[in-house]
């Protein structure tokens, strides 16, 4: 199918999908915590935009509500909270040394290809846009995991966790007609509670190892040292 023949909505969704995955890549290669948090907020804004667009084109008012929830939660509340924590713990000037930045980014690229490969079996059940959207959201989920593996700071881990959630949300809006309202509210509630708990944990970790470098959380072992 030629991309120029698809509707405006579908073209816009494809562009947004590309931008969402690009945001994940930017976070993956970024060593400064405040920039990671900023890109996370941008990714949230892209999601809110995609949801609003879906609401407009499918004429489904329920999507406007989810768009508003996303806006408040993922663009405003969580990033602001993370930003304040980072500044309060005085780690906003630190730049994390990422070992092997090139191979991490190349690994990310191969994860995107892998996601497309995994989603091949559903090609016959849907059209191009849905396939792209699901593959891209799986890629965002996997990139979030890669980010948690490659970064050592707990704040970066939380950003990875939240971007996984973003990927899942993108799949839910684009590939389906939106999750049932009760489920969506439940997920939003879980994300909010998780964000607050993460904040609590930063203080616990900071007071127990005097840093947020999770590599130093290494007291528990399978065998006695």
């Amino acid at each position: 199918m030629d991309i120029a023949q698809t509707s405006f909505y579908h073209q816009a969704i494809l562009t947004l999908a590309a931008l969402v995955v690009l945001a994940s890549f930017v976070m993956l290669g970024q060593g400064r915590l405040l920039r990671i948090v900023f890109v996370l907020a941008l990714q949230g804004a892209l999601l809110a935009l995609a949801t609003a667009l879906a609401a407009f084109s499918t004429d489904n008012p329920h999507f406007y509500i989810s768009s508003a929830i996303t806006m408040v939660l993922k663009v405003i509340l969580i990033p602001i909270m993370l930003r304040r924590l980072v500044i309060r713990m005085n780690i906003h000037r630190e730049v994390e040394e990422l070992t092997n930045r090139t191979s991490i980014l190349l690994g990310g690229a191969s994860l995107v290809i892998f996601s497309y490969y995994v989603m091949l079996p559903i090609v016959h059940t849907s059209h191009m846009v849905t396939l792209n959207a699901i593959a891209v959201s799986l890629a965002v989920v996997l990139l979030g995991m890669l980010m948690m593996i490659s970064h050592r700071n707990a704040v970066a881990h939380v950003a990875g966790f939240m971007s996984i959630e973003n990927g899942l949300f993108f799949a839910a809006i684009v590939s389906t007609s939106g999750m049932p309202m009760v489920v969506e509210l439940g997920i939003a509630f879980d994300v909010l509670v998780a964000a607050v708990l993460f904040g609590v944990f930063f203080f616990h970790i900071h007071s127990s190892i005097d840093s947020l470098d999770v590599d130093r959380l290494n007291r528990l072992n399978e065998v006695e040292k």
Binding site: M148, L168, A171, P180, V193, A194, F198, V200, E222
Partner: protein, 490 residues
């Protein structure tokens, strides 16, 4: 069917009540009463379901059949006995200064929060809500794992949070794919109903097989993280060993079961859609690997709670394997094993909690001579371990024997592996148990105030289930088996 609302509303009220008053001396007793009330509610619900058959709420959001109602009763029962144990245990921890009033409030409030999440996982009919409740269970327990605020417990809780959070995100992706598959059916009631398990189950043969297969892989990995399947098990021994003992008992006895319940519900849908044994084979593979790896890891442990949490992984692996084998006999055995394992394992953790209070450590090489210092704890640990290792005449023996028979029938070449694993696990447990129970008493070791009534009750029930399963219970299991496997073993 007010009972089902009762068991959801009582813990919900409990969360808020204890958030305000959990530090008062009577909080433990009130926690017991709340759990007793939910147990009564669950028995009422069970009787209703047994007499009138499955029940679906009018809006379709809650569904109770003989499969989940038995788990609800089990959850309520273990919740109550653990609460009975936890009241004096927590009072002791407060006295020795490991806790303060705020954390006690948090503890009681989140105990109820965890119970609410468990009941919601079991009684909901909506696969999305099931996911939300499962994540809710993680959120409720994560601060309890780090309740003592030691560096080790904070590390364990962080690991638990991140691993389970990321793991369960995979299950959400699986749920979205499920919804995507259902969205193409155009079922009546529109998309709001498309995630209801009953609707999906009725239309299972119409769901697209390719999508459902991918969805199941994600669901298995996601909920499998919570079951503690190898290689996603890393959080489990840490969380169990560093948290307060009542938490270890409910995590091991309840959370793991309920995560397995979620996987089995998904398997029922996928089997209907694909008609191929792929889902079962995946569960068999994961289950067998977990079973063997955990049995080997038992030998390397130095911490008593870590050792028993590896034993939990081993048993969960066996159950996953048995559900994967499928057939009526294997399913019946798996259901029985879920029951006896959670009764035995929570009894063991309760005993272990007392044992580590006696010895003032969880390191196994410093726990010695329990049977001389405090005979009831020594005996409790000895009998509990005998039961969990699968000795006759306890119930674990019966269920493991049934699993072996079913495997012998369908996959005879896997039987040696199962026997090997049981043998290795047995050796690992007893090697460490012997000196702890019989060894020389260290100087100055004193008995502690202990309430071993829950332990004795659990072990007596396990013994009873091993000697003769009462008729109503076996009928109940048979009904559940018929739901899952299609035919009855009796």
């Amino acid at each position: 069917m007010i009972a089902v609302y009762l068991i959801l509303l009582i813990p919900l009220g409990g969360i808020f009540y204890f958030a305000a008053t959990g530090h008062k001396p009577n909080a433990g007793r009130i926690n017991n009463w709340l759990n007793a009330a939910t147990l009564a509610g669950s028995i009422w619900l069970a009787l209703d379901v047994l007499i009138e058959g499955p029940w679906l709420s009018s809006d379709g959001e809650l569904y109770v059949d003989s499969f989940n109602v038995y788990l609800i009763v089990l959850t309520a029962f273990v919740g109550l006995t653990t609460a009975i144990f936890s009241a004096p245990y927590m009072a002791h921890e407060l006295r020795v200064g490991r806790l303060n009033n705020n954390r006690l409030r948090l503890y009681y409030s989140m105990y109820q929060g965890f119970m609410l999440a468990m009941y919601l996982v079991l009684s909901t009919n909506n696969m999305g809500v099931m996911w939300v409740a499962m994540e809710g269970a993680t959120l409720a327990t994560v601060l309890l794992v780090s309740l003592y605020r030691t560096p080790e417990s904070v590390e364990a809780a962080w690991k638990y949070f991140i691993l389970c959070g990321v793991g369960i995100a995979q299950a959400l992706f699986g749920t979205i794919l499920l919804y995507f598959a259902a969205g193409q059916l155009h079922t009546e009631g529109g998309s709001e109903n498309a995630l209801l398990w009953t609707v999906l189950y009725e239309n299972a043969n119409l769901l697209d097989a390719g999508v459902m297969n991918i969805a199941f892989v994600f669901l298995l990995v996601g909920y499998g993280t919570k079951i503690g399947l190898v290689p996603l098990h890393n959080w489990l021994p840490d969380a169990h060993s560093e948290g307060p003992t009542p938490m270890s008992a409910v995590l091991s006895g309840l959370l793991l079961n309920d995560a397995l319940y979620a996987v089995v519900r998904c398997k029922m849908l996928v089997d209907g859609a694909t008609g191929s044994p792929l889902a079962g084979h995946l569960m068999m593979g994961f289950g067998m690997v977990s079973f063997l790896v955990a049995a080997l890891f038992l030998h390397r442990q130095y911490d008593i709670k870590r050792m028993f949490s590896y034993s939990s992984i081993e048993h969960m692996g066996m159950m996953t394997f048995a559900f994967g084998v499928g057939g009526p006999l294997a399913t019946f055995a798996a259901l029985l094993h879920m029951t006896v394992h959670s009764l035995t394992k929570s009894a063991i953790f309760v005993t272990v909690g007392h044992a580590s209070q006696v010895a003032k450590t969880q390191k196994m090489d410093r726990i010695r001579g329990l049977i001389k210092t405090q005979p009831e704890i020594g005996w409790g640990l000895l009998i509990g371990t005998l039961a969990i290792a699968g000795f006759p005449p306890f119930g674990v023996f019966t269920s493991e024997f049934l699993v072996l028979i079913a495997t012998m029938h369908d996959y005879p070449w896997l039987v040696p592996l199962l026997l090997l694993g049981i043998g290795i696990a047995f050796a690992g447990l007893f090697r460490n148990l012997q000196p702890m129970v019989y060894g020389e008493v260290p100087r100055g070791q004193k008995a502690v105030a202990a309430n071993l009534f829950p332990v004795m009750l659990h072990l007596a029930l396990v013994l009873w289930l091993g000697l003769s399963i009462p008729g109503f219970l076996s009928n109940w299991f048979a009904q559940a088996t018929e739901l899952i496997a299609g035919s009855s073993p009796l």
